[in-house]
Amino acid sequence: MHQRRVIPGFGLSLGFTLIYLSVLILIPLAALFLKAAGLGWQEWWNLLVSARVLAAAKLTFGASAAAAALSSVLGTIVTWVLVRYRFPGRRLMDAMIDLPFALPTAVAGITLTTIYAPNGWVGAYLAQFGIKAAYSPLGVFIALTFVGFPFVVRTLQPVLEDFTKDTEEAAAMLGAGRWVTVRRVVLPMMLPALITGFTLAFARAIGEYGSVIFISGNLPMKTEILPLLIVSQLEQFNVPAAAVIASAMLIVSFMLLFSINLLQRWLDWRHR
């Protein structure tokens, strides 16, 4: 479209946007990748397959995936209830969904630790069964479930609200029971949004720091997550190692973001 621009401010707004974006985001990220690229492939490889990094990566990705999966299950139930049923307290419940986003991560971190510590409200109960929640991988999983939950609900909610009930009516008319209708008709329609929500929760969990470091106990090789490993490398003035681990994490995050965008684009295209 090369019509004459009638609305003013193109140069000013785009210029400011590009300069601000470059100075604040692009150049600093480039600094990170350049720093990491200063090390050769061999050093990258040695660093990334070192036992401590591998253990941290396993915990970070494993706990993130497990937490995103639990968030997806819990989020689906809560979203279903919020969208389909009317009951007292529904609006309050709706407003509370975003608490993990609004509550600063450090506050979430110390609070979850206090609840799940061996002498905490829930922790003491779990301890009776020999389950150690705080200061173990289970604690990391709990914190990441808390963090990821709103992403699943807020992704599913608009999709479920847009569903018209005619397909469900048709299924019922054809003799399907309610459970069969939900399982064979509704859930498959919700699946793309559920995958998007899962991926968003997963991506957020990988980078999460504040809500995890208190409850995890931070034992190298056991309960140390990747973001904490970056911080500890930095504190030991091992800046190149911090840059390499950070770059590798960013590449994974960008690929996740990219795949969400692809999925969304494919869904938009299919809906047309």
Binding site: F10, L24, L29, L74, I97, L99, V107, I110, W121, P227
Partner: protein
Amino acid sequence: MSHPDVTTESKPVRLLLIAGAGLIMAGLLLLPLLAVFIEALRKGWEVFFVSLRDEAALSAVTLTLTAAAISVPLNTLFGVAAAWAVTKFRFKGRALLVSLIDLPFAVSPVIAGLVWVLMFGSHGWFGQWLLASDIKIIFALPGIIIATMFVTFPFVARELIPLMESQGSDQEEAAITLGAGGWQIFRRVTLPNIKWGLLYGVLLCNARAMGEFGAVSVVSGHIRGETNTLPLHVEVLYNEYQFSAAFACATLLALLALVTLGVKSAIEHFTDHSRSVL
């Protein structure tokens, strides 16, 4: 609908699901929220207020407010400019620009702090030069501000872009034919149309700016009374086993969260705004 019951569950199932959702909300979200306040008051109101009036706590509050007071307006200005450029005009690379604006959401807060250390830290790109000119960025207020700006960068823009896209440019074009200037169009036509979306974006941006922990923690250096923001002060107290004091300061942040959620859901309710997270 003559048979509304075929598209919903039986009453026992409905009640069971509502109870299940209530339990999930209570266990996952309400319990931690309550715990903040209960732990803060465990040793009584006196300890609570003494912890809040502590000098280090007051300086942490001041620092948090200062960092938000600078980073939120700047990111708001950016958000408006970016939304204007992206929605009022069509140009090459526009889609790429929109994706780049979302980039900071994919970056771990720790990495958002690390990039500034690599730029301005003593071994960073400008490290030697800053040292020679006696300018402190890392372990000082400027570092805290730029780290906060990095993590809160997309909030206003990503709120305004879909909103202004859906509103189109007809009203602005009409204003031009009536002889209005650029600034006048923005203030009298665009701004009234986007004011709720703008407020929504600023609200989320502010909540994140005041609560940011990871990015700020990397650049702050944890100098008590100097470079500790409120979330960092909470961490320091907690690590010193001053649990009641830590939770007393945490209540301020929890209250901020509750006010944010309240205003957010009020805007959603009164303006038919879709709910968004991030």
